[in-house]
């Protein structure tokens, strides 16, 4: 039962991301998602083992603290506060998010057999994945896209938990390393985009195509 509360928090946080425009809010929400993610392994089957503790700690410290800190640094340096003029407005984003939630529930349980822990794991994973991808698609600023990428990674983490219940450590660590490298690179790139073009609107980068 308690795990359902976690899922509700996930859903709410995802909608929050879809509906807000302030970058600081984004980062706080993503930090919250990171903490939620770090709590998730405690609900898995069986006794609490060493690796669950380790994973929880690593997840919490990186996704809950380190990445948000890195991103807020990037925001400060790039001096942007808001995501203005998204391609898809906040109201429509919320509505599409709702459709995404429905689809995720519909697909999730058919695609991946429900786990013993919770029937919603797969649906949640797909929904978070969808929100992350949607943020990348519909927002203009490079930083929002980095945030969307993080949300997507969260979704993949949940999916890993749903698919590989017994030995997810390797997968988890792989994803973390991935995300870490990505955030690092994105931070640098965003800084340079900002320096170079005085803005970081990715839709204007299409002049760089061959």
């Amino acid at each position: 039962m308690t795990i359902d509360i976690l899922w509700i928090l996930f859903i709410v946080s995802n909608f929050f991301l879809l509906g807000s425009s302030r970058l600081h809010t984004y980062i706080r929400v993503i930090s919250l998602q990171g903490f939620l993610l770090s709590v998730l392994p405690w609900f898995s089957e069986g006794p609490v083992s060493g690796h669950i503790v380790a994973m929880s700690l690593i997840n919490g410290s990186t996704k809950g603290i380190l990445f948000p800190w890195l991103l807020s640094q990037a925001i400060r340096r790039a001096e942007v506060r808001r995501e203005i003029e998204p391609f898809i407005g906040y109201g429509s984003s919320l509505f599409i998010g709702l459709l995404g939630l429905l689809t995720s529930f519909w697909i999730g349980n058919r695609l991946i057999p429900p786990t013993a822990t919770s029937v919603f794991t797969a649906a949640m994973a797909l929904f978070t994945l969808f929100v992350g991808l949607f943020l990348i698609m519909s927002r203009r600023k490079a930083i929002t896209q980095a945030l969307g990428y993080l949300v997507m990674e969260n979704g993949i983490s949940i999916l890993g938990m749903a698919l590989l219940q017994h030995d997810p450590v390797v997968v988890e660590l792989g994803i973390l390393l991935d995300a870490f490298a990505a955030i690092f690179v994105m931070g640098i790139i965003m800084f340079h985009i900002n320096q170079e073009f005085d803005h970081m609107d990715t839709d204007r980068l299409n002049q760089l195509k061959d």
Binding site: F87, I107, F130, F134, I136, S138, L205
Partner: protein
């Protein structure tokens, strides 16, 4: 086998040396290593060829379907020997040719030789394809060695695309072959019945297109006249002399896995051989670029090999041993011979290019006096490639002729193709002789046509020696055909085991005929030499003067009034003009009192112009419509991914 492994490792290592040691002397070390590796590797090959023994080793390897399985049997050994021989000679040659430029090219050179060795000795499909691909890629980098030139880049791309289309067919071939047994080992291909895998015709077509692209069968040859001129000359020699023969090797090895040959295999090969041979030599006749001319001759010689194989397949399907033995024997022997004389000719062309900095035949002339060794070696190669005794080209072509004659009978259905093969071979031989009298005559005889040619000088020992060595090889095989027939005995016995009983009889029959002709040709040459010597002795001490050629009373003859490459070949190119479609720019003066006029003829490849270019343009235009998808908007790219993801999910849900 341990020697082969040592050779491979040493080869890659010494090639790699040039990557790390940026020192002027590092190419010398690389070449020394390469030559040593080749000498080591040639030992087991000669052993296997001479005794007919075969050996193989397997090493553990973690690749799905792959196994590190190398082996030497007579067929492999027969291809290994020219690879090692020509590669080491060309490496020595390249040392002077490159003059320390492009040190990195030695890395790719080592890799190319090693890949060729792996390709012909692999006993596993995956390993074979890996060797094949490394061979393609390393030679691509060698072709584009002078990448600052636009034509080199263009040639490289053409080559790369053509080679990969070929590889795609090979991949299909291997997948089909391994379908029933699930193993990519060649041992498991043996004794497959086509019904278990795929229809034999499908496998046959895949093999012919896949291997034929590398070998340069006519409609698939378009990369050859581009890539050979662009590569450094010693690389052209290796590519034309031995690399394209890996295609022939592949055909010889894999077609025999496909069960009993049908007569139409033979007809197909004779058709391919006639097309490649006749059209190849015609296009060679129309070229002005010496290396491009030689490249077209490679197509022609591959055509002769295909003719031999066609005759052999006709013999196999009709159960006629002499036909099979002489056909395949001629084809296999021509592989060796072509490696010798085409290697020699490319090295000779390279020496000319090195010394005069031009490969345009019309800018050369009179080089025989300035570069006697190069000239004589080139002449030997030219006579050999025209199939004249007493050189080696004659031996293999004569075997194919002999096979055709043996197979003639008024009732047999294969008589028609055999007559076609014979007449085609005769036409090819005649045109080749015409082409090389043009090439040799314009380049080496007469007066220099430009300052480049006038300033020519003989090349140094590292370049002279390989040419003389190869010329010696051509003469050796020509005078002692017994030696060559001994060399092809075991490979033939391996190819056609059930006909091996009468193999020796057929070969000795060929041998008798051959040695008679060779000896009489040798005697003729001896007589001429004797006569020349006597002439010399007679004229010694009595000086004749030297005077300009009589010029019909014209007062100011110049070197530009000599025959040019186009004018020399004009009677023949005019005859075949519907096929060649030469482009003529400008016109010769027609008035009674000639004014300034100029004339340029160009003969671009007719397949490229009439077939590939329009087709590729179509494809490009078609694909260009897809470019609206590439708009540079990141958001939409992610959108594509999402759409694909959802589609995959839905698809997955549909099938339970």
């Amino acid at each position: 086998m341990i020697l082969l492994w040592t050779s491979l490792v040493l080869m890659i290592f010494s090639g790699g040396l040039s990557l790390f040691r940026r020192h002027p002397s590092s190419p010398r070390w690389s070449v020394a290593g390469l030559v040593t590796a080749c000498l080591i590797g040639i030992v087991p090959a000669v052993h296997s060829l001479w005794t007919g023994a075969s050996s193989e080793t397997r090493l553990p390897w973690n690749i799905p379907g792959g196994a590190c399985h190398l082996g030497i049997d007579p067929l492999t050994a027969f291809f290994l020997i020219p690879i090692f021989l020509l590669s080491s000679l060309a490496a020595v040659y390249g040392l002077e040719y490159l003059q320390g430029k492009q040190p990195v090219s030695w890395f790719f050179y080592g890799l190319l030789v090693a890949a060729m060795v792996v390709t012909v000795s692999a006993r596993n499909g995956i390993l074979f394809l890996m060797g094949w691909e490394i061979m393609t890629l390393s030679s691509f980098f060698l072709v584009t060695a002078e990448h600052e030139k636009r034509e080199a880049r263009q040639a490289g791309w053409t080559y790369l695309v053509a080679a990969h289309i070929g590889t795609a067919f090979l991949l299909v071939l291997f997948l089909l072959l391994s379908r029933s047994s699930g193993s990519m080992d060649f041992d498991s291909f043996k004794g497959l019945s086509p019904s278990e895998t795929a229809p034999a015709w499908l496998l046959f077509v895949c093999a012919v297109i896949g291997f034929g692209t590398k070998a340069g069968f006519m409609p698939l040859h378009i990369w050859l006249p581009e890539a050979h001129p662009a590569a450094p000359s010693h690389v052209s020699a290796v590519m034309s002399g031995v690399m394209i023969k890996t295609g022939i090797y592949g055909l010889l090895r894999f077609l025999f896995y496909l069960g009993a040959p049908s007569p139409w295999w033979g007809w197909t090969f004779i058709g391919i051989g006639l097309t490649s041979g006749v059209i190849g030599v015609l296009f060679a006749l129309a070229q002005h670029d010496l290396k491009r001319l030689l490249a077209y001759h490679s197509v022609e010689n591959i055509g002769i090999i295909a003719l031999g194989m066609g005759v052999g397949f006709l013999g196999l399907s009709g159960g006629s041993t002499p036909l099979a033995v002489l056909g395949f024997g001629g084809a296999v022997l021509h592989v060796l011979n072509h490696a010798l004389f085409k290697g020699l000719l490319f090295l000779g062309a390279g020496a000319v290019l090195h010394s005069t900095h031009t490969k345009d035949i019309d800018h050369l002339g009179g080089l025989l006096k300035k570069m006697p060794w190069t000239g004589i070696s080139f002449l030997v190669g030219a006579v050999a490639i025209s199939g004249l005794p007493p050189f080696n080209g004659f031996i293999s072509e004569f075997m194919i002729y002999l096979g055709c004659f043996k197979g003639l009978s008024p009732v047999h259905p294969s008589t028609g193709p055999l007559i076609a093969a014979m007449t085609g071979l005769a036409l090819i031989g005649g045109l080749a002789a015409a082409c090389f009298s043009k090439a040799f005559g314009i380049v080496f005889l007469g007066e220099p046509r430009s300052a480049h040619a006038a300033g020519a000088h003989e090349v140094g020992m590292p370049m002279k020696f390989p040419m003389m060595f190869l010329a010696g090889g051509c003469l050796l095989i020509g005078i002692f055909p017994t030696l060559a027939l001994r060399a092809i005995k075991h490979p033939l016995a391996q190819l056609i085991p059930n006909l091996a009983v009468t193999l020796n009889d057929d070969l000795s029959m060929a041998e008798r005929a051959l040695s008679m002709i060779s000896w009489s040709a040798g005697a003729l040459i001896g007589l001429i030499l004797l006569f020349a010597l006597g002439y010399r002795l007679f004229w010694r001490g009595r000086r004749g003067g030297s005077a300009p050629t009589w010029d019909c009373g014209y007062a100011f003859p110049s070197a530009r009034m000599q025959y040019t490459a186009s004018s020399f070949a004009q009677p023949l190119t005019d005859l075949f003009s519907p096929l060649l479609r030469s482009e003529q720019i400008g016109s010769p003066g027609k008035d009674l009192f000639p004014k300034d006029s100029h004339l340029v003829t160009e003969t671009p490849d007719v397949f490229w112009k009439e077939f590939y270019r329009p087709v590729l343009h179509r494809i490009q235009n078609l694909l260009a419509r897809g470019r609206i998808l590439q708009h540079g908007r990141l958001q939409l790219y992610v959108f594509y991914i999402v759409i694909t993801l959802i589609a995959v999910f839905l698809l997955e849900m549909r099938n339970p």
